[in-house]
Point group: C2
Chain length 392, copies 2
């Protein structure tokens, strides 16, 4: 009897320890930092500006990105190797991992949080999974042309109404997959959108889907609010007739900043930010910057846009004041600034500096450095508050 | 020895039970529903569409509202009786409650989540508290005129840069309290903004602060981005020269909907929604509606605006399609529709129907009713995702 009680006590102790290890806490201010070189990530507490723990075994995380469940407890991490990993931010552990394709790039989560979609290069297409179990829900091969070849897919985003929108790189097409009636999607295809659409974004209101073209000097836009949506071109020939610079790295279209009534758009290959009217989609100005811009991210209030740059000028960040379109601050966080992420109401910004193995936190008004967190070759920074935004 | 082990086991069992009662879970999709008549609230799981538990003892909750900590674990509930109550959504319990004034209305949380401010009628002014402990940080008496009388304060909101903005009802002034340098605020005052400013809002980008005037036919606007902000009038005389209707209830200004590039604004006393250009602040149209509008809330994508109405037409909700400015749906959830709250990406809306003692959940595209939750005389519905927005 005595040994039974003792055994019970030991059992309970262990159980309690396990429960306590996963501390009861809110998840609204959590996030992750991708550690590309080691296939790991660190879970961060944005308020406390500290790392909570490292999660390993996520495979090839070059060009990795992430989306979050509506309860902001789980991150879905999209790796380069086709890996889709569901990470529990509270326990800093992998809940489930599937290698769902041979080569993939990015993903999205449906507005109701039930479906996670992944954009694949090999085999070309989009695969959709149940966000709870990662069980397959739908397979959408991106077949095109008479012979049904499979295209690489890029620019996959969520749109309101349980829809995903993505682009076929090889085919030059944009597809909408509508899951509003269940797991068997209705597909709408838009052909001949332009040559080699290499990336895309959806505006924060879920209205406009815009694809950048690698093979042409312009972009393709789809107005999802139109009764009969059709693809229109914008910024046709925005670089034409000028001396072309070598392109070190294509800018991320997801880095488009909507600031007030204007988009601030990194120009491909040029040391410029294009200013585009958000109503007419006409170019209304250019802001000269330090190098080839990679990300141009608006502070959530839209008053400032922060810009980082391609190699070899990637040690620098510039801050543009939107109303005056002037650069009001420039600083060098260190070698290889890869990504920046604002707190949801914009009072701080987190910046990953890969080659100094740290993430730095800045006050966005005083520009004062508030903290440094050691990280192993950090790249993307993703805050769980993205769960509450369309298209992120 | 045996009894010691047994006692230990019992102790541990109790401890474990307590830990388990507060289940490890995310907080991104939590929310609260105010039960006005009983001074209680229910914590809700928005994803599962269910109530997690009731919290009692919050005092007089008529006209109550709430803000949330950045980690989305805590709600700060502002009652009518001066009560400020910090509620733990995870354990559904009161962490701390202070009765900080005799009569108050609404509050706000600073962009860094550290300060909670309350707008008081009696004594007139704003009091600011540490969000962690609810310890007093600052007291801002709203004294005005030669004799230093205290004005009721209304329309208190957060603005970027650790600022609060509020309006002095009796004085006709707007004040900015800037806490960026610490707990001792720098106050900026704008006098003569118009007669009896009764409520106010700040736009979602934190740029424009707009106060409604009870004593005049128009509104007052302050552009916080201006180098030298000054008060300008808008919609002057929008009801002048027409037959005046009795005003059953003043509309909530926080219900202003920014849909695309237009505000949809409930007209005071008229069966109309005013359409106002978001750049010029000029009226560009009116949408006739069922009754005197109270809230006109934009679905987060801005495609639709949902409207409820004052007594005696408060059993009805109308849905306006923004591009066409047409009413595309009308239905009667039941007697006394008091409030509506959208999920952050807009796929569902929660509606409180006070006199049928329930909250109803609708699909915003099919308009299908998805769930009903029993609640005791529900009024305001507040989702924790508000933590991640400016001015909510």
């Amino acid at each position: 009897m005595k040994s039974l009680t003792a055994a019970l006590a030991i059992l309970l102790l262990g159980f309690c320890a396990e429960l306590q290890a996963a501390e009861l806490r809110g998840t609204g201010d959590l996030g992750i930092v991708i550690e590309r070189a080691s296939g790991s990530l660190q879970v961060i507490d944005v308020t406390q500006r500290r790392a909570l723990g490292r999660v390993q075994g996520l495979g090839d995380l070059s060009h990795a990105s992430a989306v979050f469940s509506p309860d902001q407890r789980y991150a879905f991490v999209f790796g380069r190797d086709g890996g889709l990993t569901k990470v529990d931010l509270l326990t800093q552990s992998i809940v489930k991992r599937v290698v769902q394709a041979g080569n993939s790039i990015g993903g999205a989560i449906s507005d109701d949080g039930r479906l996670v979609a992944v954009s694949n290069y090999e085999p070309g297409g989009v695969r959709v999974f149940d966000s709870d179990t990662l069980a397959p829900v739908a397979d959408i091969p991106a077949s095109y042309g008479a012979k049904g070849a499979l295209s690489k897919t890029v620019g996959l985003v969520d749109a309101p109404g349980r829809r995903f929108v993505f682009t076929l790189y090889d085919a030059g097409e944009i597809w909408i997959a509508d899951f509003s009636r269940g797991g068997d999607p209705v597909i709408t295809k838009f052909e001949d959108v332009g040559a080699l659409p290499y990336d895309a974004l959806i505006t924060g209101d879920g209205r406009h889907y815009i694809a950048g073209l690698f093979g042409e000097d312009g972009l393709a836009r789809l107005d999802l609010w139109a009764a009969a949506p059709k693809v229109e071109r914008l910024l046709d020939g925005y670089g034409r007739g000028e001396e072309k610079l070598p392109v070190y790295k294509m800018p991320h279209l997801e880095g488009w900043a909507l600031a007030g009534k204007r988009f601030m758009l990194p120009a491909v290959g040029r040391h410029e930010i294009l200013v585009v009217d958000a109503d007419t989609f006409q170019e209304v100005g250019r802001v000269p910057v330090h190098g080839q811009p990679i990300f141009a991210v608006a502070r959530p209030d839209g008053r400032q846009v922060w810009v980082n740059f391609a190699h070899p000028l990637n040690d620098t960040v510039q801050v543009i004041d939107v109303p005056s379109q002037k650069i009001v601050h420039e600083f060098k966080p260190g070698p290889t600034v890869l990504h920046l992420e604002f707190t949801p109401r914009g009072h701080e910004v987190w910046i990953s500096v890969r080659d100094s193995d740290k993430v730095e936190v800045y006050d966005t008004r005083t520009f004062e450095k508030l903290a440094e967190l050691p990280m192993a070759k950090p790249s993307g920074i993703f805050f769980a508050a993205r769960a509450q935004r369309i298209g992120l």
